[in-house]
Amino acid sequence: MATWLGWQIESNWTDPLLFATYSIIKPLAGASILVVMYAVITHGNFSAPMFQWIYVGSALYLYVGSIMTGISWGVVDDRERYRMLKYLYAVPTPFAVYLLGRGVSRFITGSFSVWITILFGVIFLKIRQSPEHFHPALFVVGLVLGLATLASMGLVLGAVVLTLKTHTEQLGDAVAGALYLFSGAAFSIAMLPAWLRPLAYALPLGYWLEVMRRSLLGPPPAQFATFAAWSDGQLLLALLGFAAGYALLAAGTLKVCVHSARERGMLDQVSNF
């Protein structure tokens, strides 16, 4: 039901034609910036494996922004714009389930962006996948574990937003933007300064993108050798650990933040949205 509500909100803000146009143009505009930057740096060497790795990684990273921001934005939207969060909190459906449902609607719209971007790459930028390198099982398991972890991260962010009074609407985008640096989407984690690398290794994003790109494109290029020594199984095990760990973290954070929000009377507060 929360997903249905989220979808109505996401898709009904304009007429269907404009919504479809926006859904296609927005991700392509983002991808174009990356492609132009890459072309300038490499003098248009689009056939290099590194380009495919960067392009697909950045396309998949769109899921991070969609899901994490979707949940936290749901809190802001319901509380401040529609003034409904207090009623939704007081329904019998567990609050975490409701928030995750709002995240699922963003996953659906985010999926349009991800796969339109990839399709654009296949058609116009010669992103090619050798059939022998495609691992459907690895792709499905990696996608499920990664999305579950992203949902937990989104829940953590949504829980924190519950306890904040101002500037909550930008938090999701800000966090997703900051995490891009640590994800290995556009450059290898090994290129980060040594003191920042532990943070990147402590986040699931690098592992997840590695699994997803391996499942679609095969072994990583030399420029992205951070996890070259890891087998697919080891990466999946790490992802499973992250999924479980972040689920526990999300449950704990939500409990603490809801408690705090009830203590401070913030479930129905309206700021300066």
């Binding site: 039901m1 109505q8 909100i9 529609y82 003034r83 909190y89 019998p92 409701y98 009830r262 009377g265």
Partner: protein, 338 residues
Amino acid sequence: MTDLSVDVQGLGRIYKTRGSPGSPGREFSALTDVNLQVRRGELFGLLGPNGAGKTTLIKILTTLLSPTSGSALVAGYDVAGESRKVRPRISMVSGGEASGYGLLTVRENLWMFSQFYGIPSGEANRRIEAMLEVLHMSDRLDTKSAELSTGLRQKMNIVRGFLTDPEVLFLDEPTLGLDVGASRDVRAFIREWMKEDPNRTLLLTTHYMVEADELCDRIAIINKGRVLACDTPENLKKRLQGEAIFQLEVTPVPAAAVTSLESLPGLHKVTHHEADGRSRLDLVLEEESALSSVLAHMTGLGIHLLSLTKREPTLEDVFVELVGTSMEEMEHDVSGGA
């Protein structure tokens, strides 16, 4: 099922504001040692001016806000420790706000909520249509709620509260901002709903005396976070039975004259309203014989009597008796005399 739908013991709530450099944080007590028991099947009213603590109490009882002290049970469950058991048994509507998803139709808004409560879709649609019919909104079923007037949107929200057939329903100022006709519809709807099932309990807050008097089985008068009295409307009014209440219309009365009236022997309370170039004085006298000295004093001050009515005590008189000033004056003071 417990006989007490709401059982509040020694409830307190303190709001803290965070300090800043040069300005220390402050504490504000919204509720102090509140004790209330609402029986199953009762239509109970919380009557008090804006800022009295009514909404804070509703928020605590609906699990949105934690109490600072004391305890509150709703449908037999502790709102602080057993909130998950409380929620399926309650529903809540706040009046005077334009909440709701404007991009959804009236039916979709209501149906969505019914699904969060696990009501089968067909049954939910049946209830939605029946309730909207009673509130004269059947023709708006497929209208997007953004296109509704504030009053119709509020009616839609009221239906949302009733739709799930809660064991205990909380209505916070349900008729705030509604016109006379819509308020009448809502009050009739509330009465009918309560009649349908003797196990339903409804707790409503209001600052409209007539609404509380007309609807409620029992009323708690609340002011500055404290419950001052709790009884049936009739029993509350009986407090003033030994006193004589007169309403006078007179030529304009200066503030100093009101003060001098207050000191007259035999005059228990006086409230003063100005309207249309006239003054209205509500006098609560210890006994009827005190009236002649009051009238003589006013004549001496150059105030001329235009009309005089003896009337039965109202809840407004009870409020004045308990608080020392009328609710209207209190709200006028709170809003800075605006």
